[in-house]
């Protein structure tokens, strides 16, 4: 009941936005809200089901974004010729060295000999790798750096990027999980946070991969371009029959296209999450979250399950990341900030109600709505505050000037108020 009421509330908020601001704004919020909901679902799986404190959401989202580039952009021909093969070779070599090191570490008996041979392997491996890699990278990055300077992608339809984004994130999660999942709570948190920073550092600095901070813009789209629609007489006619301006209609049509795609993904993910949670699998996960020692003693392989859920949740984050980059139409690594891509998602999960999938979805939609709307809200707040002051007073001027900073202030205030009235989240776990 409460669930339905709250979802209705969000619906009404969005309708109001549509009526008082514009339907385009409302749809824009819905689209990002849907993506946020998926992201929140991913985090909720890790935290709400299994108690894994992943604060590296940003990293997985970014990997999803990378997938969008790698899948969607056309390959840069000259770049492949210049050194694409060699880069792949270098990377494969690097991976082989690491695998060899792990093999040695496992096979040899501990002692000075092992340490030395490991060290030797790694040092030699590193030098050779850099030799192979650096030259190739330089060559690739030299190909028209202002425009390309990277390898490009596969030139496939961008929708393929979504599963690929999930896979990429899952792969990263596997590696991270194998190494760091032994850590408890806050220690795992900071490790994932660190790893996310590393992912972003790679995206920012490996220009051959995705142009680094120079950004990739103009990603292909899964939906038609507004301009094309505006020029399509059929469409214009149809718009007119609804009494709509073709420009407005076109951008709404495009947004609705995204909405449909995102909604479809959300429904599938949600169904899978719900089915899993309501089954013995979900019960087992809750048991593990409650008491790992006891779960282990009851025959549950805690490590494996943690890894499983970590990979799954991260894959969902990667999926959402790819969707987001698709919606943006561009990859801008420097825009990946922990505040926006990790902590805000956490706010969504907790405000929504951790452990509850519907809560996560609600939190995603609601918090995103607020994140966008606190700007005018903050402005309003300041006008309200300063309305009593005499026109032209220095304080009033100062207050109005600071209005922009009320954005985060308002966000904080709203957050605190919501949590005060729903400390276990809006839709608590059972």
């Amino acid at each position: 009941m409460r669930t339905i009421g709250l979802f209705l509330l969000v619906g009404v908020l969005i309708l109001l936005t549509g009526m008082f601001q514009s339907w385009n704004v409302a749809l824009g919020i819905v689209n990002m809200g849907l993506i946020s909901a998926i992201l929140a679902l991913g985090v909720n799986m890790q935290w709400g089901y299994a108690g894994l404190f992943n604060v590296g959401v940003m990293g997985f989202v970014a990997l999803g974004g990378l997938a969008a580039v790698l899948v969607g952009m056309p390959p840069v021909e000259g770049a492949w010729a210049a050194g694409g093969g060699r880069i792949i070779l270098a990377l494969a070599f690097g991976a082989a060295v690491l695998a060899g090191a792990i093999y040695l570490y496992k096979r040899m008996t501990p002692g000075a000999v092992r340490t030395l041979s490991l060290l030797a392997l790694l040092v030699v491996g590193f030098v050779v790798y850099r030799r192979l890699f650096d030259g190739a990278v330089e060559a690739v990055e030299a190909v028209d750096p202002a425009l390309t300077g990277y390898l490009g992608g596969l030139g496939l339809p961008i929708l393929f990027a979504w599963p690929v984004g999930a896979l990429l994130a899952a792969g990263a999660a596997w590696v991270i999980g194998k190494t760091a999942l032994g850590l408890r709570s806050d220690y795992l948190a900071i490790a994932t946070l660190g790893i996310a920073e590393i992912v972003i550092a790679v995206l920012k600095n490996e220009d051959w991969l995705s142009r680094g901070v120079k950004n990739v813009i103009g990603l292909p789209r899964p939906v038609p371009y507004e301009v094309d629609l505006q020029q399509d007489p059929g469409f214009v006619e149809q718009a007119a029959s609804f009494g709509l301006d073709p420009v407005v209609a076109s951008s709404m049509a495009v947004k609705l296209g995204y909405t449909a795609l995102f909604l479809a993904v959300l429904v599938v993910v949600m169904w899978m999450a719900q089915a899993a949670l309501a089954s013995p699998w979900g019960r087992m996960m809750r048991a593990i979250r409650d008491n790992e020692t006891a779960a282990e003693a009851m025959g549950k392989d805690v490590t494996r399950r943690h890894l499983q859920i970590f990979i799954l949740g991260s894959a969902v984050c990667g999926l959402a990341g790819a969707m987001m980059t698709t919606l943006d139409g561009q990859l801008t690594p420097s825009s990946y900030q922990p505040l926006r891509f990790t902590f805000l998602v956490w706010v969504m999960v907790i405000v929504g109600g951790s452990g509850n999938n519907f809560g996560a979805v609600l939190g995603g939609m609601l918090i995103w709505f607020l994140w966008v709307q606190v700007e005018p809200l903050g402005l309003m707040l300041m006008q309200l505050l300063s309305s009593g002051l005499p026109e032209g007073s220095a304080l009033k001027a100062h207050l109005l000037e600071s209005a922009a900073h009320m954005r985060l202030f308002t966000m904080g205030l709203v957050l605190l108020i919501v949590l005060r009235f729903a400390p276990r989240g809006l839709i608590p776990e059972r």
């Binding site: 850590l183 660190g194 600095n205 900073h405 985060l408 202030f409 966000m411 957050l415």
Partner: protein, 336 residues
């Protein structure tokens, strides 16, 4: 001579900056670690508490300067510090009363407090900017250097300079003093022990007659003081800019965690681990090696292990590695 030149280079570009930065992180991390250790949550508002405290100090400093007060070579801000601390304590206590207490009484799980502290962070963030604006503020006066690079060169006759800033020296001394005091307080005094007892088992603390509100209040007072001191020292050394203080949050958390959450000694150690790993791994060792190695062995390249592009990533990689070998940090923190 060559050896000395090499040594001075090393000191000037590695040891001194890393130590000072490490100490800055450490004092910040102490605040974080204390909240974690006693109130049991990761306080995201700490960076912005530091910013707020620094702002208070700056405003008082300006006031003092306007009155014509100055301390000679020592920055006036130090005189303003006690006032700043008072203001910060006030803010933090009010926050506790209005915000955190509600959740404490409800015994909510720690993550919720983490999220609540994010809300507080946003509010402080707006507050600071509302009062002093988002801009850079310089407020250090007095002598900037204890030893400046140029003076050192003339004095020693070496090719390389060595610089030590007043603020760096103050920071290092403060860090050591504060951690010693805190360690003593928590482990030797009755109040300190009762705070640890409270964090360990709240109900049982109650049964021993320990007043929770008192413990919490003392904790916040200390934390606010630490935040104010850390922020001010940092601002003196670099400059004050609210946005940077938010950015400091990550390395501060990293430091607190590598050291072992809840452990004051750990916070100090963590600060240095983070600072040193950043500097050492990305330092181009060529210059030092040129002085120290015979000519035949002189390196061709820069002898830089990793480019500074990855500076931030490096410190986090170190952190992850440390945690893999010591899963609850260097000083065995809590795993809640």
């Amino acid at each position: 001579m060559d050896f000395l030149n090499g040594l001075v280079t090393l000191l000037n570009f590695v040891v001194i900056p890393a130590t000072a930065y490490g100490a800055q992180l450490a004092i910040g991390a102490l605040g974080v670690t204390l909240v974690y250790g006693i109130l049991r949550f990761s306080n995201f508002a700490h960076g912005d508490t530091m910013a707020f405290g620094t702002m208070a100090v700056i405003l008082v400093t300006w006031g003092l300067q306007a009155l014509g007060v100055d301390l000679g070579p020592v920055p006036t801000a130090l005189l303003a510090l006690p006032f700043g601390i008072l203001i910060t304590v006030g803010l933090v206590l009010v926050t506790d009363r209005w915000v955190y207490r509600f959740y404490r009484v409800k015994k909510v799980p720690p993550v919720l407090l983490v999220i609540v502290s994010m809300g507080v962070m946003f509010v402080y963030n707006g507050l600071t900017r509302l009062i002093i604006g988002p801009d850079d503020q310089r407020f250090d006066d007095g002598a900037r250097f204890l030893i400046s690079a140029r003076d050192f060169k003339t004095w020693s006759g070496l090719d390389e300079g060595l610089a030590l800033r007043t603020s760096q020296a103050i920071t290092i001394v403060t860090a050591v003093a504060v951690v010693a005091a805190l360690f003593w307080f928590l482990n030797r005094t009755r109040t300190g022990k009762s705070m640890r007892a409270f964090s360990d088992n709240e109900d049982l603390a109650l049964l021993s007659g320990i007043s929770p509100e008192r413990v919490v209040a003392i904790t916040w007072v200390i934390v606010a003081a630490l935040a104010c001191v850390a922020g001010t020292l940092y601002g003196l050394d670099k400059s004050f800019k609210p946005f940077t203080y938010f950015q400091l949050l990550l390395p501060i958390f990293a430091a607190a965690i590598v050291g072992g959450l809840g452990s004051p000694l750990g916070a100090i150690a963590g600060g240095f681990v983070i600072a040193y790993s950043e500097v050492i791994l990305t330092y181009a060792w060529k210059k030092v090696l040129v002085y120290w190695l015979p000519e035949s062995l002189e390196p061709e390249g820069l002898v830089q292990l990793l480019s500074t592009d990855y500076k931030f990533a490096v410190s986090f990689a170190i952190l992850v590695i440390v945690l893999l070998f010591r899963p609850t940090g260097l000083f065995r923190g809590k795993a809640l």
